[in-house]
Amino acid sequence: MSLMRSFQVASTALSSQSLRLNALASNLANAESVSGPDGKPYKPRQVVFRPAPILGEVAAGVEVASVTEDQRPGPLVYKPGHPSADANGYLRMPNVNPVEVMVDMISASRSYQMNIEVMNTSKQLMLKMLDLGRS
């Protein structure tokens, strides 16, 4: 049944968007993490999407192609008393811009909601389809 594919497509989008939300939450939570396990400041993660073909169908879902780390250095902050500060008293912060992350989060949550609606509509149509001829 072709409408089932809509479910499949929407669910791939939901899982991809939730992974994106996870990455964003991690970025936001680590906005102040100046030394990770490797002693370096946290690098913001970014998920990259790509279309995921569904076997034997023209419709394409979406999948996460990769999770990349933003290699750009973060801003230097003057904090002489900090244990991770360098000889001149400067501290390398993670390159997380909270405003950027928030905006990205809104975009992700909107996409998530939209795909939920796709599922709801498809569900209603399928239920109607099951009732065909029953009157």
């Binding site: 072709s2 409408l3 809509s6 497509v9 929407a10 999407f49 279309p51 419709a59 394409a60 009157s135």
Partner: protein, 139 residues
């Protein structure tokens, strides 16, 4: 058989519903890929797709029904045909090459959902009238 099938409202409704479900699938994949870089929004031309379905053009490459006698029905394959997938012309394409416009997709999706329901109502009517004819008006 073909001539009958062409004017059979059941056959027509079935083809219409099949194409509606097909389009639903295309539109949902557009919406799923709203954030995918380089993804191009697709759609079908519904009137053309339906006509092709009814005229059996879309069946021409599908598997035909195997017949062991000349007097068997000659019908096309029962595999759903695939109408031509077109690209939607972008009104405001984004820099990453994505041409999915959420508002347009949402509008088409809602439109398609309502029309699917309309097709189902029509099909229900056809089934109800046939049932009435079969039962001799005492249902």
């Amino acid at each position: 058989m073909d001539r009958v099938a062409e004017f059979d409202p059941l056959y027509f409704s079935e083809a219409a519903l099949r194409m509606r479900a097909y389009r639903q699938q295309i539109l949902s994949s557009n919406m799923a890929n709203v954030d995918t870089p380089g993804y191009k929004a697709r759609d079908i031309l519904f009137s053309q797709a339906l006509r092709e379905q009814l005229e059996g053009v879309a069946y021409s490459n599908a598997l035909p029904l195997a017949a062991t006698s000349d007097r068997h029905y000659r019908i096309g394959g029962s595999l759903p045909g695939s109408p031509a997938l077109l690209y939607r012309s972008a009104i405001q394409p984004s820099l990453d090459g994505n041409t999915v416009d959420v508002e347009i997709e949402r509008a088409h999706f809602a439109d398609n959902a309502v029309r699917t329901e309309a097709a189902m109502t029509l099909l229900n009517g056809v089934i109800a009238s046939r049932r009435m004819a079969l039962s001799g008006n005492n249902s």
